[in-house]
Symmetry: D2
Subunit: 304 residues, 4 copies
């Protein structure tokens, strides 16, 4: 039973901040982190994957109703309706919402008083993030996307909330799907979260969520993953690492400069991958240009 | 002087609602309008344009400060800073904002009590748009993009606020750039708006803005444009059509089912097109999945 | 058992719109309704009740966390903290929230296409209420307040959710407390709602809530109540009147022009009334001056 | 010319933090500051001033349109209109807005790392103010109010933006109006700001505004003022004190624990005072109960 395997110790996770660090790798003033692994050539090769012209969203609809896994819903109000001369509206949201599909900026997570690349956390002020803001991604995140649909490889509908994914689960999924994660890829990991929610109803996902065990961190670094997305929050919850609530978020973002996409909906993507019998595609992610912001809601589009 | 040419009469514009109509063309229950012109084959051909792997945003940063052309700025507040354990924020906006890059849903504009395809405007309620909402675009708008940089073709830095663009201006630009607008293309028209603003300061753009004369409407229909974007609002303001404030918006959206992108920033796109000596590219637009919404802020990404 | 008594029939409630109407009573263009019953002399007499100088709030804290009885919490965000040079914040709310202490403007409720005093509902537009907006109360609502603490008179800690209050319950409470409701009074009716919530936890209060039976409507009119407040929403829920969800709201607001205060917290007021052995006091209510608004959160202050 | 008189020096203002301090005066854990000067007896005496029963608002309407003196307007949106079954709305605001009538909580201003009464500024967190929040005023601020209408005493329609008010201006106004500011009073100082704005149009009030010279601080302490309100921000702007932008705000709030009311509209109050020939009245201020908030919009009501 994979669940019984121990997570790395607190000391091991702490050591990752040194051994997996990308600080300085792309210059002292770098703002992009592992996105630097997406070269123009990589993008050209990714575009060459487009063969049937099908597109698929990887986003959930913005959650406008409160629920156990979404205590702070998006406010959506109409400002123009049938009685006016136009349809108009207004919305308000905290993009890091627990059920909102979003991409974290690298300024989102702190460790030992530092941000990625050694910027001091004091750069994240009440006037916004003066370094590593989401606007740094204004030209989009476009590369090859690879979906690893772990429940499919394990022959289940979904992972149990709280079930960790280990590196060999990722590799088994690669082998079964005939796809290999390569440098510059955007890796999307499916845990079956929304299928589980449909079946069992919403639960407080801050307490239990399937996701990557901290032992996946060296694997992500080794493979040269450029950005990581998940239908959960990438981290398994609880993390099983004493005193480290979110080891994947912390090491990936702060040490590795790896952007994370949380709360994707990968069900339709999985269906299309199955139907097309391929698990790699052109993936285009276009964060809103919110200066000094810490995240953006997104609608990542896979193009086959 | 093109400015002296008359705009179509009110009666002519009104007739466009009949002569240019796409109602029923893609079925009685169609929600996508002219986006139906983007076939899978079109997308595959567009992806084949990716040769250098460069990406360029067509969005302005979300305007968070008030100005003459942006009376209702985006609210952006930080919820987590250096004194907390993370960087977090919150934002609120009306996506149709006069300086916000956004895509209009087809429910945005009404004519004679009707929406595109004959849906009654009563379908746009205080609980959202029950037809033609922005969520219908959840799988993205991906096709060949073509930039027509009109000031460049006319040898000026920018058009004057209020200056109309006629079909022969569009065609002259096509010839000079060696590009032709084809069925299923997303057409982006640059007027030099932001260059003008940089030079002269902001002005109330609801009163004067360069854009397409209403006589371009048949041209757009003929060419099979799938979506239309502009650094202004596509319409020239004032429209010079008696009693019709926004003839392009009204006929394009309601009669033709043509999605409009407003307030793009096309300056960097123009530079890259010039440097790459080509005015066509893969364009990916990913509206947020806001159920029953009337628009979405977007960050359209051109891929070369 | 009072619960077994029948509520008025649908026809009877409908008749109240005619028999209890105040339309035209204070002029064709009246905007204040029953607040006209608060004369300057009434206010002077109310101020003469101030004898000990004690003040008590009748408001709940604005609910910033979601709960079963508050699905849309108030958003409260800090914009200035220890790292800045000042403390600053921002908040957003829908004042009619189910757990928010607020006063309804007379434009809040519609009946047969009409507002109070015969204004057509078309005056409530997407640009705000052109008649009967909350700003009409800019000079405050100041009069004698009377608390009728019904559970106290019935010898219980709180009424059961769904339990109706009848006119004779109100009169029994008057007799027991030695107080009589008079013309121009602001009547506050306690049901023990928050004590019940503390004991049993929150429930969906839209489904069941103690409050006035529709048979209280003639009594309110007869007594000349100027404004009515409750720790619930004045209406008993369900109303037990076929096809009329909120008979008190509908008849009181639309026919009688009676302003309602919802979701008060009357526990401390009850304690002070008990300690002071009097159930009447000077009451000051100061709605925010929101032009064309439909309600305001308020903090009514009782002065003893 | 009073304008030519020098303001106190930076060192003198700094010394006020020691010489005018109320820290510890009402206990180590005090949260109310100078509001402690409002005794129950004071309130009883204030209520005895009610003789004609007239009420007057001291608030401006919430500013929902942007202007030179209000760059961040209140957002006000309708959620229910004629097409729905009710009138409903939503609003969002930063209460410290430059044209919004509000009362500052004592946590609003910092000095040398400290809040009023010696609380460390670290108590003002991204989760709200853990000390001195606006909810401490939940039972209202009710006392005798005194209006000093300085332009009236000086025989002008309004003070010039930037014109300082000195203690002898306050005393001249007292003499002319036959009123004396006493311990426990809420002092309202009119500068004629909105009359000036009506005549000249809005200007950036952060740069120039009539208000109290820093030399008024000892006077305020000596008289035992319990709360201070102004149609400006109490401070004259610029302050003419080197390196101290807001000496009144800083010393009054941090050292003296004096609550400030900003952006009142005192025009109608002045008219009524003139008509009633008295400049003292019962004043009732009821901040919203926003837990841990730094301010509240208010509508202070004067009762004559």
């Amino acid at each position: 039973m994979p669940e019984n395997r121990a997570a790395p110790s607190t000391a091991e996770v702490r050591a990752f901040h040194r051994t997996l660090s990308n600080w300085g790798r792309w210059g002292e003033r770098d703002q992009l982190g592992a996105l630097n692994l997406i070269t123009p050539e990589k993008r050209v090769a990714a575009a060459a994957l487009v063969r049937t012209g099908r597109t698929v969203s990887c986003a959930r609809a913005l959650p406008t109703e409160p629920s156990a896994d979404n205590p702070s819903p998006v406010v959506h109000l109409m400002t123009g309706t049938a009685t006016e001369h136009y349809g108009g509206d207004y919305f308000a949201l905290a993009p890091h919402g627990f059920a909102t599909t979003h991409i974290d900026a690298l300024c989102h997570i702190f460790h030992d008083g530092m941000l990625y690349n050694g910027y001091p956390i004091e750069r994240v002020t009440a006037h916004g993030a003066l370094e590593l803001g989401i606007h740094e991604l204004r030209d989009g995140v476009v590369s090859r996307g690879v979906l690893l649909d772990v429940p499919r490889a394990l022959g289940v509908a979904y992972l149990e909330p709280g079930q960790p994914i280990f590196p060999d689960d990722l590799e088994r999924t690669e082998r079964q799907c005939g796809v290999g994660v390569e440098e510059g890829d955007i890796l999307l990991v499916a845990t079956g979260r929304w299928t589980c929610r449909d079946e069992r109803g919403p639960w407080d996902s801050r307490e239990r969520l399937a996701g990557l065990d901290a032992s996946c961190l060296p694997w992500l670094r080794e493979r040269g993953v450029a950005a990581l997305g998940c239908d959960g929050v990438s981290d398994v919850l609880p993390s099983r690492v004493d005193g480290v609530v979110l080891p994947i978020h912390t090491v990936a973002i702060v040490a590795m400069g790896l952007h994370l996409l949380d709360n994707l909906d990968l069900r339709r993507l999985g269906e299309v991958c199955g139907a097309e019998r391929r698990w790699a595609f052109l993936l285009s992610i276009a964060p809103l240009v919110l200066r000094r912001g810490t995240a953006s809601p997104v609608n990542p589009i896979a193009i086959f």
